[in-house]
């Protein structure tokens, strides 16, 4: 029987060569975001050169700086590591030269240490990192997510080792004392949930990890799964022990192939080390962990939809009660939490509830990961204490809105949530503030809209999404969202009428009768539009005008100057809508135009967008 101390000692051996490398070590972040912008090619080029380059190369997870991917971190003995950004394959050669000459290149973005080096600032001075409190993400981009030794050497499974020596009630008390609540968006105390399952004595009992991060624009769970998967596996095993369960299912969405691979490897390696399976660390506790890969369904992110999906059938949300703790997966008692909820448990056990609760606010303890996308300078994933002002995250960490545009609104919490307008953006990142404003903070997605974006357009997208992903059980949901799409599309096409406004409000009311949150939450974005952007909606309905000039039915493209670039516009048009008349003058055939914007992109001075129904 291997004890935790022995595991830690041997893991420390293999980590030491990484933490204090003999010769230069180049860490390449390989995750979803970086691999789509060429990180694999960078890695291959570095590996090719490493053979005779007197340096080593290793794969790590992602630090969250999508905007600077591919990122590479260079470790040289006796020096602070240096982080490089946008290291595409053409930058490999200068990077290697710099490493061999002991210098830094002009694409170094930060020194990972307290002091800068030349023009390169310390990491803590980069706005993207300065305001972060990285706990869950502490090892993201530092360790190899496919090597459990790296996880263990940095404190991994210490929390489980402690938990296995504690009473189950004491573990749950620790969770409750920490104040951890469900990170998926519902904000229910995690410890209480675990206690529901603990007090049920019908076996087998299941731990289910909801890694079906389906909200478009949310990708925080993805980052954690592909960068430090051990936290999630360990969290599930701790939850299993605390609630006396038998097996964990980690259900990961199909759209995340790299996380599926890495969590699967983390599970396999946990078995190899005796951290999962029979008689975990000699405690007598048996616990199986299994990864399930979804197949593309948003409602499987609803806890009971996910349960149905496990049961070899359509992933339709169930009717509650019975609640999962009474009859969950396969009608057995189950506990379902989000990835981030489980991932916090090892840290609470390792460092204690008091440490964990030392950041955040009175009501909302701890940190939360957020993903930034849309009209924002720095797309990425950050971790901040709850209670951080939303504006700070958008403007300082995210760098604000590009191209000198004005912030219009922030969409948080996915398609079943709404927006907050720029005037409210000072609110802290805490669920209460968002709820008071008729929306949800949600699971971590923050999508930024600027002045060029249209709220009606967003509503059409979200209502369409809700309709498309509706399981089909409740008429108020599947038909209600379809009616909403029809009405909104009518408005966007210039045929909106006053009665549509009342109909949209009515749909928002009847949707509350849907069984699950999918139907109930679907009208949130429309309600949000009424609350914050009613003027803009009325402009669409009454004046048939889209102020952002996005709604295709309310605009048209016109040639306003006859220039040479119109030839290019004519060539690019996919529908031959740009025609030359007998006098050699270009005009746009409105019957053919699909309003794709390609002509204006290539000929911005000659072609402009005008209101279709200018009054």
């Amino acid at each position: 029987m291997t004890t935790y101390a022995e595991l830690r000692a041997s893991a420390g051996e293999s980590w030491r060569v990484i933490a204090d490398p003999q010769r230069p070590l180049i860490k390449v972040g390989i995750a979803t975001c970086s691999s789509v912008v060429g990180a694999n090619e960078t890695l291959a080029a570095l590996n090719g050169a490493a053979a005779d380059g007197n340096f080593d190369v290793m794969t790590v997870g992602c630090i969250g700086a999508c905007y600077a991917e591919p990122t590479v971190e260079v470790h040289v003995r006796g020096q602070s590591p240096v982080l490089y950004g946008n290291v595409t394959v053409d930058r490999v050669s200068p990077l290697i030269d710099a490493v061999q000459q002991g210098t830094v290149t002009d694409f170094a973005i930060a020194v990972v240490g307290s002091e800068g080096r030349g023009d390169v600032p310390p990491l803590a001075r980069l706005p993207f990192f300065a305001k972060q409190t990285r706990r869950l993400m502490a090892q993201c981009g530092e360790t190899d997510p496919e090597n459990i030794d790296h996880y263990i050497a940095n404190g991994g499974y210490e929390g489980l080792d402690k938990a296995l020596r504690m009473d189950k009630e004491a573990i749950i008390k620790e969770l409750l004392d920490s104040g951890l609540w469900g990170r998926g968006g519902a904000a229910f105390p995690t410890g209480r949930k675990w206690d529901f399952l603990r007090t049920s004595d019908r076996h087998p009992k299941y731990i289910v990890c909801n890694a079906d991060e389906g909200d478009p624009g949310a990708f925080v769970n993805r980052n954690l799964m592909e960068s430090d998967p051990g936290l999630i596996v360990e969290g599930c095993i701790i939850a299993g022990f605390a609630s006396d369960a038998d097996r964990a299912y980690i259900y990961i969405r199909d759209e995340y192939p790299i996380p599926v691979d890495r969590v699967q490897k983390a599970v396999e390696q946990a078995y190899e080390r005796g951290l999962a399976g029979r008689d975990i660390l000699g405690s007598g506790f048996d616990f199986e962990v299994e990864v399930v890969r979804g197949a593309g369904s948003y409602v499987c992110g609803d806890e009971t939809g996910l349960l149905s999906s496990l049961e070899d059938r359509r992933g339709m949300p169930k009717i509650k009660p019975p609640f999962p703790a009474q009859a969950g997966a396969f009608a057995q008692p189950s506990n379902i939490n989000n990835v981030e909820s489980y991932a916090n448990a090892p840290m609470i056990l390792r460092n204690g509830a008091a440490w964990w609760a030392s950041v955040g606010t009175e009501r909302n303890r701890g940190t939360k990961m957020f993903s930034l996308s849309g009209k924002i300078e720095r797309v990425g994933i950050v971790e901040v204490p709850l209670g951080t002002p939303t504006r700070e995250v958008i403007e300082i960490l995210g760098g604000g809105i590009p191209d000198g545009k004005q912030l219009k609104a922030i969409q948080s919490g996915g398609p079943l949530s709404g927006v907050i307008p720029a005037s409210e953006v000072d609110i802290p990142l805490e669920p209460e503030y968002y709820r008071e404003r008729g929306t949800l903070m949600g699971g971590g997605g923050l999508v930024v809209m600027d002045e060029d974006d249209c709220v009606v357009d967003l509503c059409i997208y979200f209502e369409w999404f809700a309709e498309d992903e509706s399981c089909g059980r409740c008429t108020t949901c599947f038909a209600g969202t379809r009616r909403a799409v029809e009405i909104l599309k009518r408005i966007a096409s210039g045929r909106g009428r006053e009665a549509d406004l009342e109909l949209l409000k009515l749909l928002g009311t009847v949707a509350q009768n849907a069984n699950c949150f999918h139907g109930q939450g679907a009208p949130t974005v429309v309600n949000s539009m009424f609350r914050w952007f009613e003027d803009e909606l009325l402009e669409h309905v009454q004046r048939k005008r889209c102020p952002a000039r996005r709604c295709a039915g309310l605009i048209r493209y016109e040639v306003v100057h006859q220039t040479d670039t119109l030839q290019a516009a004519e060539a690019i048009c996919p529908t031959t809508a740009i025609v030359k008349d007998d006098a050699g003058q270009y005009r746009i055939d409105q019957q053919k135009c699909v309003k794709c914007d390609a002509c204006r992109e290539v000929s911005p001075y000659a072609i402009t967008i005008v209101d279709e129904y200018a009054s």
Binding site: T32, C33, V36, V37, C66, Y67, G214, P216, G217, F219, R222, N223, Y249, D254, E255, Y256, P257, V260, Q264, V292, R293, G294, A295, G296, S297, Y298, S309, D312, R313, R314, G315, A329, S371, S373, G374, K375, V379, Q411, V447, M449, D450, D452, Y461, F465, R550, A552, A571, I572, P574, T576, K580, D582, G584, V594, K595, C596, D597, A598, E601, V602
Partner: protein, 204 residues
């Protein structure tokens, strides 16, 4: 429990043509180690799609047998998930991201341009069966918004113009022109852009 399913079903090659019996027996082989009521049907479906490029109708009965349920339940399951296909994919599938970051950067215009250029509606094939436009979900690679994906490669940030150029690059070289330059009426030779050839997406 570690029989690792491959993750490539979404990007797998198109279906090999095998007869009904071939499909049934191959399906049975693929799922022979899977059990009912153990959260394993999705694993089976992924393996089948990886093998054939879609879930053939003949596989449904075999699945029903293995998972101790009815073909209707199996078909309902297959039909429910958007990553599972019931028909073989077209030769060239262009994937269009539907996410919000893309939406705010004119993905709707890109969609309309592609529909016109490729001659197909969303989630449908072109009349000649060569092209398919497929809606995919946001996976958080929003640095590339608005993006397209083709055969596993991500492209972005796109513009409507670059999307059109990409779509044109997928079309085969035009037939050699018949010697008869067309006139558009005012004496000028038509300057309609010749589609370029080439299979590789211009990834950024």
């Amino acid at each position: 429990m570690f029989s690792q399913a491959s993750h490539n079903s979404r990007t797998s090659v198109r279906g090999t043509s095998v007869g009904d019996v071939g499909v049934a027996s191959r399906t049975a082989e693929l799922i022979s180690d899977l059990k009912a009521d153990a959260a394993e049907m999705l694993k089976g479906l992924h393996r089948i799609q990886h093998e054939f490029g879609y879930i053939p109708g003949e596989a449904v009965a075999v699945l029903a047998d293995r998972f101790k349920t009815s073909p209707a339940i199996v078909f309902g399951t297959v039909d429910f998930y958007s990553e599972l296909r019931t028909t073989p994919p077209a030769e060239k599938v262009v994937e269009w991201c539907s996410g919000p970051a893309c939406l705010f950067k004119n993905s709707s215009g890109i969609r309309r341009a592609l529909q016109a250029q490729l001659g197909c509606e969303m989630n449908a094939a072109s009349a000649d069966g060569q092209f398919e436009l497929r809606l995919v979900q946001c996976d958080g690679t929003c640095k590339l918004a608005p993006q397209l994906r083709y055969r596993g490669a991500y492209m972005g940030p796109m513009t409507a113009a670059s999307a059109i150029e990409f779509a044109r690059s997928l079309k085969p070289a035009p037939e050699p022109p018949i010697e008869e330059p067309e006139s558009d009426g005012d004496g000028e030779v038509s300057t309609e852009a010749a589609p370029t050839t080439g299979e590789e997406p211009q990834s950024e």
